[in-house]
Amino acid sequence: MKVDYVHDVQTAYRKLLDCLAKPGTIHSLRPESAALDLPVACYKSTMMLMLMFLDPEVSFHIIGRRQGDAERYVTQLSGARVSPLGEADFVFVLKDRDQGALIEAIQASKLGDLVAPHLSATVIVEVEKNTAHDELLLSGPGIQWVSPTSIITDAEFVDSRAAKNVEYPLGIEMLFVDEDHRLFAIPRTTTISKVR
């Protein structure tokens, strides 16, 4: 089955919108992205997000072992500009990244400013697994009470993210995709606390 670049991207976007509006919600992008077959060394759902976001109006940065090849291909595909980490609108942190690369990406990604806080980066992270276990508790807009979640990735990301987003409305959005196409999103307004 081939990917429908109009309707599959639309349904994937609605799932993402739901994830971001209701942090803690996990949606599967399998129906939309499973049929994607593009020569980039990333998850298929990450590729779907690239198709959703990237065009000549925005810039991106990829962090991974085959960064150069991936960036060249995605530029040809989308027309989006490759930018240094600190200037990119979208930062893709792939699964085969080096140790500590996620923390570095969080620290260095752009924040916008108080007049234009929307000019901050959106960081897309490939993780081992997104589940609804209660290792992390989320609170903030979009969450009625608290929402339990578990993101199996670099453990220190919670503290780095909190430090990055300390001066609301400045902050970054983080989207997490796992190998099984599960999508999870945390906007800057979400507070994450660790369950002891």
Binding site: V6, F53, D113, A116, Q144, E173, P187, T189
Partner: protein, 288 residues
Amino acid sequence: MNKYNFAFFDEQSKREIRRALLKAVAIPGYQVPFASREMPIARGWGTGGLQVMLAIVGKKDVIKVIDQGSDDSVNAVSIRKFIKQMTGVLETAETSEASIVQSRHRVPEVPLTGEQILILQVPIPEPLRETEQSELRAKRLHAEKEYSGVWLSLFEQIMKYGCTATGADHPTMVHERYVMSPSPIPRYDNRKLNDCAALILFGAGREKKIYALPPYTKVESLAFVDRPFVSESMHGKICRLCGAEGVFLDESVQAAGAGPFYECNDTGYCRQRQSSKSRLDRGEKSGD
């Protein structure tokens, strides 16, 4: 064969609006600028709401479009027909059946659920516009959370009229950070924005701004401690068609000598109540 793209826009236009919407959801109440497109209806007639709708709508959606509470007014009918023509989606007049509700100046009476999205059309998204004409200075005021101009404007209304005289579009504080225009909904509807289960998206096509309220976001109508926020009173008024009380009603004047009469402003809600009532009158079970 359809001569137009699905949902009218090319994919790059949708991407632009979709990206803006994501940042809007991430920063509740903050106005995200976007490249507003030319639409086949005039600016000021709901192009912002329409663009948001076309950027998110999919084949499986069921849409409802209302204008000042009515499913049948010219603006609502035109927009609904256009969306249907461009997408082929189903339409409904019942709020509970819709996955996306586009509205001009009302929040439906039937409480929205977490599975629904409400899109509000916005003529003037900047709540500081009355006191600050410069766009750049207004942005700086938002950046510094400097809202004394809005407070002063409300204070002056109280001094002049004895109460706030905003009518519609009474400014709100969102997530304790941004003062936001709720669009020209009546004050009666402001409370529905607070802690709403649905995602609410605001589109201002002429002013090229998009903003949003994620579900369960704190939205407070601006008011003073000694002058609390007061919405329009519907006390003692009843819809003459369906008998509803405690909903937002339109007042109409009868022939000389007779008093005014009232009808539900939300026509979909009123029709639903009337049909339930007539079913009950016929002795059928409610909900059949």
